[in-house]
């Protein structure tokens, strides 16, 4: 099963499958049914971050350095958390400016500088090629282990020719794949649908393969995690395996590695490619922001178990970097190791594909093209530049050659030097190189003042320090340089030792290098930027980058002033982009103007579109050079752009403030309106009240006066009648004085001058007394009174006279509103939690939901249906003051009074709630204080 033929067949069969998937995805894209238009595919494509280094190296790192392997994944998690802000900004810029790579991004930010682009491309080439070599090395090693186990994987490379090395052929197949699916379009800013689909698929494969090994280790080799961890703990070598002590550099090394992983995740060319260039839809970032970290978490779940199991296995497990393979192999399995091999292969190939595309774009657009453009033969104006479309072939050709060369370079590195380093070392050295892009990129995104000279100095300083502190020592350890360089420093100068620069000792080498290189890098960026000036193009680009999330307007505003003709533009475009693409760019313009006269001047919009189209294919710097070669006069009105940008951001700010202000104003005016309405309502009620009060006062007065006059004028009245008249007078004056008393009460309540005399009293007794007082009147009115009062005392704190007044008022009120026929009123007293509730309900029409609070408004009187016949039944109208007064009194005593639906009788139910009186001693105190 593990014979060479089978392994080869499976491996190349897998690669063939990638071709099929990519071709299928491209076909779908042509039909307009894109496969990759989903946030999940986007997240999976970002997982190209997990290379063979993750697949094999994580376990190795966990076995040797404890939990530090996790840092490589915690850093990206941090980046993804701010992805909806940071990555969205980068994506938006990339789309607006047709950015093709990180070199293009940095060059565009600093005034479309071709020097800066070339610098970034060179650094990337220098730093990343070893990383590609690392993938090839992983393939060779895993293949050797798979076919030769249990014999240790002999380094066949040195003895045999390269043609026996499988990774050479894998690299060749990949070159074909990348040429087929990575250079379909000349426009490198366009998505590579087929490639992304294949990458997403590979991410799934490596995840499944790694999880399979993990499950196998945990549940087949051992009886679950408990068993494994118990045995590992018993193993003397592993006692400290998972603690921070194992991490190189301890806590400091930990932080250094976290920073390194965070920065590298953003700046590795392949990550920039999948995160920014291949992003189809800004909205996908949102889902990927948590889905991708989740992927990282899941793929790392079993790293520690596998590492522990590998160490427990002892010598048969070979080197820690190969535990993933040797564990199932040692158990005598055949199928699983093959799956693992495919998983590792997918991790390695995925990385190589994306990295090579990114690097080849950089090499062709930023290293080769600028040189070609400078050589006179290629100048657009030169007579030697031949037929149209010819340069298109050139461009794609350059890119294809670059792809083959990069892979070949990676292979050479692997074959000649690779053995000197372990997997992890190469990976981290590459990370540290890529991290040097971070300051120029991130600071440039948020600080407008960063200048081109600053960025160039920063990159150079950073990469020099990196080379001195990581690359040179690596060479020394490989035996090409004297080891004395490390121990004694160059020429015996001790404070220049590469691993302890300026005497900074005791740090792990990566944190040490990262610290010094970033110090030089950021220092140069800020320092030089503060003392250099930006050209106007730089200023514009800086503003466009920093304001990217606000200034969409700018990209649509054509600000070209230079003069050129459509013919010249057409010639330029067709030479570099080919006829079909040129027609696409020009089509819209011709559609608008209706003719394609070569001598017509080109509109500013057309010139802008042409530059964007060129930028997508050649990079911003070259596109700018080309456009300037045909446009006469100042091509871009930079002052206008700058002033618009400034105005735009200012306008936005004003806009925001205005909006806020107007919102506040709206709220305030609404509040005012409500208050006004309320005041009007009160005013109306007051008017009504005054009218009503005078009416109420006049009625008894009138009858008193009338009867008094009769008594005065008619002397011959019989005694009986006289007596009756006098009774009426007395009765009416009583009513008058009661009304006046109520008005006075209300006035006192309102002004807070109402004096209460709270004491401990029994609410039950009080309620009975109230019932007795009204019973006779109620009977006269034909209202039946039901009483339900418990025998036990209900002690509350209150003023007995006032409370009785309230109870009588409630009963009186209820009887007024009880049904005309068979009127019933029910009084009940019950305990509710720490309160007593006295409820009075009637069987009248009830009170509507909206009116329930209004009955407590002073001067409010409910319209009672059939009002006219009420006096006939001897039920006087209320003054409208009883309930407000009652509520005031109850509130003064710390209770509540409100209206509810009557539970038994179906009419209205008024409920008075008073807190239960505290125990005796406390009661006295409460009474005393209540007296004040």
């Amino acid at each position: 099963m593990r014979s060479d033929a089978v392994v080869l067949a499976v491996a190349f069969g897998y690669l063939a499958l990638l071709f099929v998937i990519a071709a299928w995805a491209d076909r779908r894209a042509e039909q307009g049914r894109s496969l990759i238009g989903s946030p999940t595919v986007y997240a999976l494509s970002i997982a190209v971050y997990c290379t063979a280094w993750t697949f094999y190296g994580s376990v190795g790192r966990a076995a040797e350095y404890g939990p530090s392997f996790l840092l490589i994944y915690l850093g990206p998690t941090l980046v993804m958390l701010v992805g909806p802000m940071l990555i969205r900004k980068m994506v938006r810029i990339a789309r607006a400016q047709r950015i093709t790579s990180i070199a293009d991004f940095i060059s565009a930010r600093y005034g479309k500088s071709d020097g800066l682009g070339a610098l970034v491309a060179l650094i990337a080439l220098l730093g990343i090629t070893p990383y590609i070599a690392l993938q090839l090395k992983a393939i060779t090693l895993s293949h050797a282990i798979l076919t030769q186990y249990p014999a240790p994987a002999a380094e066949t490379l040195v003895d045999a020719g390269f043609w026996t090395d499988k990774s050479f052929w894998v690299a060749l197949v990949l070159a074909v794949f990348i040429i087929l699916f990575g250079t379909r379009h000349l426009d490198a800013s366009e998505r590579h649908e087929g490639m992304v689909a294949a990458i997403a698929f590979e991410s799934l494969v490596k995840l499944v393969a790694f999880l399979a090994v993990g499950m196998f280790t945990l549940f087949m080799l051992y009886d679950g995690p408990g068993d494994l961890f118990a045995r590992a703990a018993a193993h003397p070598e592993l006692a400290q395996a998972l603690s921070l002590e194992r991490v190189p550099g301890g806590a400091l090394g930990w932080v250094g590695m976290l920073v390194l992983a965070t920065l590298a995740f953003l700046t590795l060319p392949r990550q920039f490619q999948v995160l920014v260039v291949e992003n189809v839809d800004e909205g996908h970032i949102r889902r990927a922001s948590w889905l991708f970290p989740l992927y990282l978490l899941v793929i790392n779940l079993f790293v520690i178990p596998v590492a522990l199991a590998g160490v427990l296995l002892g010598d048969t497990a070979l080197s820690p970097d190969s535990f993933v393979l040797t564990l199932p192999l040692a158990a005598g399995l055949d199928g699983l190791p093959l799956l693992v091999f495919i998983g590792g292969l997918s991790a390695a190939t995925g990385m190589m594909i994306v990295e090579t595309i990114a690097l080849s774009t950089m090499v062709s657009n930023h290293l080769v093209m600028p040189l070609l453009l400078r050589s006179s033969r290629m100048r657009p104006g030169s007579r030697l530049a031949r037929g149209r479309g010819e340069l298109t072939g050139w461009l794609l050709g350059i890119r294809r050659v670059a792809i083959v060369l990069i892979l070949l370079l990676g292979y050479l590195y692997h074959a000649l030097i690779g053995d000197a380093y372990s997997l992890v070392t190469i990976g981290l050295v590459s990370f540290a190189a890529a991290a040097q892009f971070a300051p120029a990129m991130l600071v440039g995104l948020y600080w407008r003042g960063a200048t081109r000279s600053g960025a160039a100095c920063a990159l150079i300083a950073g990469i020099m320090v990196w080379a001195y502190t990581l690359l040179l020592p690596g060479f020394a350890q490989s035996g090409w340089l004297d080891m004395a360089l490390l121990s004694d420093g160059p020429a015996g100068i001790r404070w220049l030792r590469p691993y302890a620069l300026f005497g900074l000792e005791g740090w792990d080498i990566y944190t040490h290098s990262l610290f010094w290189s970033l110090l030089a890098n950021i220092g140069a960026l800020i320092g030089v930027s503060l003392f250099t000036r930006q050209s106007r193009l730089e200023q514009t680009q800086a503003a466009l980058f920093t304001e990217a999330l606000h200034s969409e307007l700018i990209h649509r505003t054509p600000l070209w002033q230079g003069q050129t003709t459509q013919g010249e533009l057409r010639e330029l475009l067709s030479r570099y982009l080919g006829t079909p693409a040129t027609l696409r760019v020009l089509a819209e313009e011709e559609h608008q103007t209706g003719d394609a006269d070569a001598a017509r001047p080109a509109s500013p919009t057309l010139v802008a579109r042409a530059e964007r189209a060129l930028a997508g294919a050649l990079g911003n710097a070259s596109a700018r050079v080309l456009i300037n070669s045909v446009v006469r006069g100042e091509a871009l009105d930079l002052d206008a752009v700058l002033s618009i940008l400034d105005t735009t951001s200012q306008t936005l700010e004003y806009n925001r403030r205005l909006k806020q202000k107007s919102q506040e104003l709206t709220t305030i005016s609404e509040e005012l309106r409500a208050a006004n309405e309320r005041l009007r309502e009160l005013d109306r009620l007051k008017d009504e009240f005054v009218a009503m009060v005078s009416h109420e006062l006049r009625t008894p007065l009138t009858s008193i006066r009338a009867f008094a006059e009769i008594l005065r004028d008619s002397h011959g009245l019989p005694e009986e009648k006289r007596r009756h008249f006098l009774d009426v007078v007395v009765h009416e004056s009583q009513r008058l004085s009661r009304l006046i008393e109520e008005i006075l009460d209300l006035a006192r309540l309102e002004s807070g001058r109402l004096t209460l005399h709270p004491e401990r009293l029994d609410l039950a007794t009080l309620a009975r007394r109230g019932v007795d007082a009204v019973q006779r009147v109620q009977e006269e009115r034909g209202v039946q009174l039901e009483v339900k009062i418990p025998d036990s005392p209900a002690m509350v704190i209150g003023d007995p006279d006032r409370l009785e007044q309230v109870i009588i008022n409630l009963l009186d009120n209820a009887s007024k509103f009880a049904a005309d026929e068979d009127g019933r009123v029910r009084l009940a007293l019950e305990r509710h939690k720490r309160h007593y509730r006295l409820s009075v309900e009637d069987n009248g029409p009830g009170i509507g939901e909206d009116d329930r609070e209004r009955v407590f408004e002073k001067f409010h009187q409910l319209e009672r249906q059939g009002e006219s016949d009420a006096p006939a039944r001897g039920r006087p109208r209320g003054s409208g003051l009883g309930l407000p007064i009652s509520r005031g009194i109850v509130a003064h005593l710390g209770g509540r009074l409100w209206v509810e639906e009557a539970p038994t009788l179906g009419g209205a139910c008024l409920i008075m709630e008073l807190p239960q009186a505290p125990a005796e001693a406390a009661a006295l105190g409460a009474a005393a204080s209540g007296d004040e």
Binding site: P67, S243, L244, S289, L294, L297, I304
Partner: protein, 74 residues
Amino acid sequence: MTPRRHARLLALAGLALLLFSPPLLLLFDRPAVYGLSWLPLYLFLAWAGVIGVAAWLLERPDSERREEPRRHEK
């Protein structure tokens, strides 16, 4: 994306940074029952927690967009 959601995400990233770095880390670097350090378990749990909160923040419907008009009505 509303500014409030941005602020929440930023705060979450800050929290994650705090959780993933010393000195909080040192609190968990102790031997557990079996003698191995708690550290990896802590890291995985904190990591999963952060991802969970991020997913919750990012996936729920944009609450502000719905709340905004309601606030205006008042």
